[in-house]
């Protein structure tokens, strides 16, 4: 009896861990694409509220107000730009046949930790402390004063932001691995190349877009 309940507990824990770090075992294709697109759009809404920009595949910056549509557009650009090279790398290194909708769907869903980041970045304390630190680094007089609560909120937001970024990268790799059936050194190497390349390209595309609209 004890053994059975222990096994069941382990199995529940495994399943929870799979849902957290490899949900693509259970969700892919159209459901993943629909959920992923919804998450990107909702994240865009929160980003608009907090003036938070995902101005690169992994980048998060705050404090620059812009037109509302810029924010979801950034998320969509980040998603498409990474999914395209991963699809082509999959075609090159995978021995299996795979579907385009699985690659794009799982990559969209893999961006869900950034929904949490968008919410975490909402408090104005983040912007205040950010501006304060920037002013100190630039050796100018800070415009606003910050208190201990602001610093605490900022520290929590930074910590969570880093954790969410790491989690998202793990999910992006898992999404690539499951949807294209690739594993090992080749899979990791091509993923890193795609991620770095896309990070650069996304900056090149998104920054001029923001500058043109503001």
């Amino acid at each position: 009896m004890t053994e059975i309940s222990l096994n069941s507990e382990t199995s529940t824990r495994n399943r929870l861990s799979q849902w957290l770090f490899n949900p693509f075992m259970f969700v892919a294709g159209l459901p993943a694409l629909s959920a992923g697109l919804a998450i990107i759009l909702i994240s865009g809404f929160f980003c608009w509220l907090g003036s938070t920009h995902f101005d690169g595949v992994l980048d998060v910056h705050t404090g620059l107000a812009a037109q509302w549509w810029i924010f979801p557009a950034e998320g969509l650009i980040d998603w498409i730009l990474l999914a395209i090279p991963l699809f082509f790398f999959g075609l090159i290194i995978s021995k299996s046949s795979f579907r385009l909708i699985d690659v794009f769907g799982t990559q969209a869903l893999a961006r869900w930790p950034y929904l949490i980041t968008a919410v975490v970045m909402l408090p104005s304390a983040n912007l205040k402390v950010g501006n304060f630190v920037f002013a100190r680094l630039a050796q100018t007089t800070p415009v606003v004063a910050v208190n201990l609560a602001d610093i605490f909120i900022f520290a929590v937001a930074m910590l969570l932001g880093i954790l969410m970024a790491v989690w998202m990268v793990v999910l992006m790799y898992r999404a690539y691995s499951v949807s294209c059936n690739v594993k090992g050194t080749k899979a990791i190497a091509t993923f890193i190349i795609a991620l770095i390349g896309t990070e650069i390209i996304s900056k090149v595309i998104i920054l001029p877009l923001i500058n043109r609209v503001i």
Binding site: F24, M25, F26, V27, A28, G29, A32, K95, S96, F98, R99, D102, T106, V178, S179, N181
Partner: protein, 99 residues
């Protein structure tokens, strides 16, 4: 129904058939025979293939039954195909020799 073991519980090597018996006349044949290629797969893989055949080879239906995503099921099938290619080639050659 007893489950036919395919690998040795002590060293995990592939098991062979040593004896076959006719339940009607009790004739017993002894020798050393390879299991057929599909019989060499693990029970999990054999059950997976049975489900695959029952769903007329529909990976979408399989994904629904197993509550897994389509690519996960397809990847599992690809792994089994690889195993059959590795273990099955020798068995197929033996079968062709005997025909």
């Amino acid at each position: 129904m007893k489950i036919l073991p395919t690998t040795c519980p002590a060293c995990n090597e592939q098991l062979k058939v040593k004896s076959l018996i006719c339940e009607n006349c009790s004739t017993e044949i002894q020798g050393s025979y390879d299991l057929p290629p599909l019989g060499q797969l693990s029970i999990d893989d054999q059950l997976f293939l049975l489900d695959f055949i029952k769903t007329s080879g529909s990976l979408k239906d399989m994904a629904g039954i197993l509550k897994l995503s389509y690519p996960t099921v397809r990847n599992r099938l690809d792994e089994i195909i690889e195993r059959i290619k590795l273990t099955g080639n020798a068995g197929k050659n033996n079968m062709e020799k005997n025909l």
